[in-house]
C-alpha cells in the first residue's frame, strides 16, 4: 500500500482515492523522508480504511507520529459532514481525552537543581500513579456527575485551580451536553476511585527545563522567558471511566453499523450516523469522559503546586505556576470549519489553532516541544501531531532493554527518575519511539505548526 503514496510536497504524501476500491476521499500523510521510510505498511492501509467511511470530508489525514492502532492509526485526523457523516467510538479510542497539561514556573534550573531529587520523590508520593496505587479522592455519585457534566468548573469551585486554568484549557475544560444516563453504571463505578490518578504505560509527569527558545515573541506570550526556566508536563487521560465508555460504545456502535447498513472496512471502526441515537449517545458519554479527564489533570496540577510549595516554602502563585495550556489528543469534537459544523476525530492528534499553543510530548528522557498553530493548519482541520509515536512494540522494548539500565543511563545524564516498576521504564525506553526531531520537522515543514520552545526533562515520574 505504501508504494501507492505520491509525493505532493517535501512534507506531504497523498494516497489518491483511486488507490483502493471503496475510498471516498484521498488520504494524506505529513512526513519527511525519514518518517516516510519508517512507516508501517499496515498503518497506511488503516488510513485508507478511514477514507472509506460515509460522509468523510477530504482528506483523511495522518500525522508524522502515526503508527498502527485499532481500526485507524494513532496520529490520525478524520472530519465528517454533520448530516451525512458518522461518529465513531473506535476512532476516538480507549483513552478518551488522553492529553497534556503544561505548567510553567518562574524557577530556574539553578534554583531547582539542589532540590531535584527530593522534589521528584515528593511528587511521586503526591501523585498516585501505576496500576497499584489507590486514588486519594473518593467522590460520591453526585460529585462524579458534576465532574462529568461541568468538568474543571467543578474543580475550580472546589479549590483545585483557578479561573486562569479554565481560560488556558481546550474547550475551557468543560464540554456541554453531557447526559449522564448515556454512561453505564460500570463506567461510573470505575470513575469514582480514580479521579486524581496518573495511570501507567506512556502516561507521565515530567520536570523540564527550557533548552531552546525558537520564537521569542510567542514564547513570552506563553510565559516562557528564559533558557533553563522550569516547566512541568503532565500526560494522562480519563482512566477506567474512559476505557469503559469506549468499550461499551464499541459494542453498541458495532450493532448500529449493521442496523444503519454502514459497511465497515474493519470492525474496529465501529460507528453510527451522527444523527442517530447511537451516535449522539456516544457523543454525550464521550464528552463526560473528556470533562473527567480535564478535571483529572487539573486536580493533579493543584497537587503538584502544593508539593512545590512544601519543598520551596513559597506560595505557588509566587512561583508563577500557571497552566500554559491543557490540550486533548484523543477526542471527537463538533467544530466550526469554513463556516460549517463538522465532527472531527483526533486520535493521537492535537488541535492547532493559529497562535495557540500545541503541546507535543517526546518519549521518556527526550525533548518535548511547545509549538504554535498556524493559518495553514486549515488544511488539516486545524490539527497537528501529538508526540513521538512508537517505533517498537512494548513487548519488544521489554525484551530489548532493562528498566534498571535505562534508569541508570537517565540518572547519569543528571535526571531524577521515579517509577513504580522497572518494566515500565523498559517499555517506554527512548529508543522504542521515533525521533521527536523528525516528527516536529515534518509538521513545521508542512506549515501546520511552528516551533516556539524546546524543553528537556530533568525529573521523570512514570506510573
Amino acid at each position: 500500500m505504501k508504494e501507492l503514496l505520491k509525493k505532493a510536497t517535501e512534507f506531504e504524501y497523498v494516497l489518491p482515492k483511486g488507490s483502493r476500491k471503496g475510498m471516498n476521499v484521498d488520504a494524506r500523510i505529513i512526513a519527511n523522508k525519514f518518517i516516510l521510510d519508517g512507516l508501517e505498511d499496515e498503518s497506511v492501509k488503516q488510513l485508507s480504511n478511514v477514507a472509506m467511511l460515509p460522509g468523510i470530508i477530504e482528506p483523511a489525514w495522518a500525522m508524522p507520529d502515526m503508527h498502527f492502532g485499532y481500526g485507524l492509526p494513532m496520529g490520525a485526523v478524520a472530519a465528517f459532514d454533520k448530516d451525512k457523516g458518522i461518529i465513531s467510538a473506535g476512532m476516538t479510542g480507549f483513552d478518551i481525552n488522553c492529553g497534556i497539561n503544561l505548567i510553567r514556573t518562574n524557577l530556574t534550573l539553578k534554583e531547582l537543581e539542589p532540590k531535584l531529587n527530593i522534589l521528584n520523590k515528593a511528587l511521586f508520593k503526591a501523585i498516585p500513579c501505576g496500576v497499584g496505587s489507590k486514588g486519594k479522592l473518593k467522590l460520591n455519585n453526585q460529585q462524579l456527575k458534576e465532574v462529568l457534566t461541568r468538568g474543571i468548573k467543578w474543580a475550580v469551585e472546589n479549590g483545585y485551580g483557578t479561573d486562569n486554568d479554565i481560560k488556558n484549557t481546550e474547550e475551557n475544560g468543560s464540554m456541554d451536553g453531557v447526559n449522564v444516563s448515556t454512561i453505564s453504571d460500570t463506567a461510573l463505578k470505575r470513575g469514582i476511585p480514580q479521579l486524581g490518578t496518573l495511570g501507567a504505560g506512556n502516561h507521565f509527569l515530567e520536570l523540564q527545563k527550557v533548552s531552546h527558545i525558537l520564537d521569542e515573541k510567542t514564547a513570552k506570550k506563553f510565559g516562557i522567558n528564559d533558557k533553563n526556566q522550569i516547566t512541568i508536563m503532565l500526560h494522562c487521560g480519563s482512566r477506567g471511566l474512559g476505557h469503559q465508555i469506549a468499550t461499551d460504545y464499541l459494542k453498541i456502535q458495532e450493532k448500529a453499523a449493521e442496523k444503519y447498513k454502514i459497511s465497515l472496512p474493519d470492525r474496529q471502526l465501529a460507528c453510527a450516523p451522527i444523527n442517530s441515537k447511537e451516535g449522539q449517545d456516544y457523543f454525550s458519554a464521550m464528552k463526560g469522559a473528556v470533562n473527567y479527564s480535564f478535571t483529572n489533570r487539573l486536580i493533579m496540577t493543584q497537587w503538584i503546586r502544593e508539593t512545590f510549595e512544601k519543598i520551596f516554602g513559597r506560595k505557588w502563585e509566587e512561583m508563577e505556576m500557571e497552566t500554559v495550556y491543557g490540550i486533548a489528543h484523543n477526542i471527537c469534537k463538533k467544530e466550526k470549519y469554513k463556516g460549517k459544523e463538522i465532527y472531527i476525530h483526533r486520535k493521537g492528534a492535537t488541535r492547532s489553532l493559529p497562535e495557540k499553543p500545541v503541546l507535543i510530548a517526546g518519549s521518556m528522557g527526550t525533548a518535548s516541544y511547545i509549538l504554535k498553530g498556524t493559518e495553514e493548519a486549515e488544511k488539516t482541520f486545524y490539527s497537528s501531531c501529538h508526540g513521538a509515536g512508537r517505533a517498537m512494540s512494548r513487548n519488544q522494548a521489554i525484551k530489548s532493554f532493562r528498566g534498571n539500565d535505562i534508569k541508570k543511563e537517565l540518572e547519569k545524564e543528571g535526571k531524577a527518575v521515579e517509577a513504580t516498576s522497572p518494566i515500565v521504564l523498559a517499555e517506554e525506553a527512548p529508543k522504542a519511539y521515533k525521533d521527536i526531531e523528525n516528527v516536529i520537522d515534518s509538521v513545521q515543514g508542512a506549515g501546520i505548526s511552528k516551533k516556539v520552545v524546546r524543553v528537556v526533562p530533568i525529573g521523570i515520574i512514570k506510573g
Binding site: 496500576v131 469503559q244 468499550t247 512508537r390 512494540s393 512494548r394 516498576s421
Partner: protein
C-alpha cells in the same frame, strides 16, 4: 492449562491461552490477563468475589469475562490471581475469583481494554484456544 504472551503489535500485547475444557480455557485466560496487570506470585488469593457473566456466544462470553475482570480491578481496587469457574456453558458462566488489595509493589501495568483485533476463540483437536489482544 497454560498461556503464552506473543510479540506482535506496536502499542499492545497479545496472548494465547489454552485449556482442555472451557473451564480450563477461561481460567488460564484470566491468569494470562493478570500476569500483565500485576505480579501474580506476589498477590495473595485471600478475598473471594463472585462473578456471573452472560453472552450470546462463546467468543462474547470470553470478551465479557475478561472485560469484567479489568473493570473489577478499578472498582474493587483488587488484583486477582486465582480463578475458579464453577459453571460454564457457551452462553453463561459462574465463577469465584480470589485476590487482594492493589499495592504499588505488586502492580505491573494498566490494561485499558480487551480489543476486537485478531480476537478469536476456537477448538483444536482436544483443546480450546483463545487469542486475545489487550490495549495497554
Amino acid at each position: 492449562m497454560s498461556f503464552k504472551i506473543i510479540e506482535d503489535l506496536t502499542s499492545d500485547v497479545m496472548f494465547e491461552a489454552e485449556g482442555k475444557t472451557l473451564k480450563e480455557l477461561f481460567e488460564s485466560s484470566a491468569k494470562a490477563l493478570f500476569s500483565i496487570i500485576c505480579k501474580l506470585d506476589k498477590v495473595k488469593a485471600k478475598t473471594p468475589k463472585k462473578i456471573e457473566i452472560k453472552a450470546n456466544n462463546l467468543e462474547e462470553l470470553m470478551f465479557n469475562w475478561l472485560q469484567k475482570l479489568i473493570a473489577m480491578v478499578d472498582i474493587e481496587e483488587m488484583f486477582f490471581n486465582k480463578f475458579e469457574i464453577e459453571e460454564i456453558s457457551e452462553k453463561k458462566l459462574k465463577a469465584k475469583v480470589y485476590g487482594s488489595e492493589i499495592k504499588p509493589e505488586t502492580g505491573e501495568t494498566v490494561v485499558k481494554a480487551v480489543t476486537n483485533y485478531k480476537f478469536k476463540v476456537w477448538k483444536e483437536k482436544d483443546k480450546y484456544i483463545a487469542r486475545i489482544v489487550l490495549d495497554i
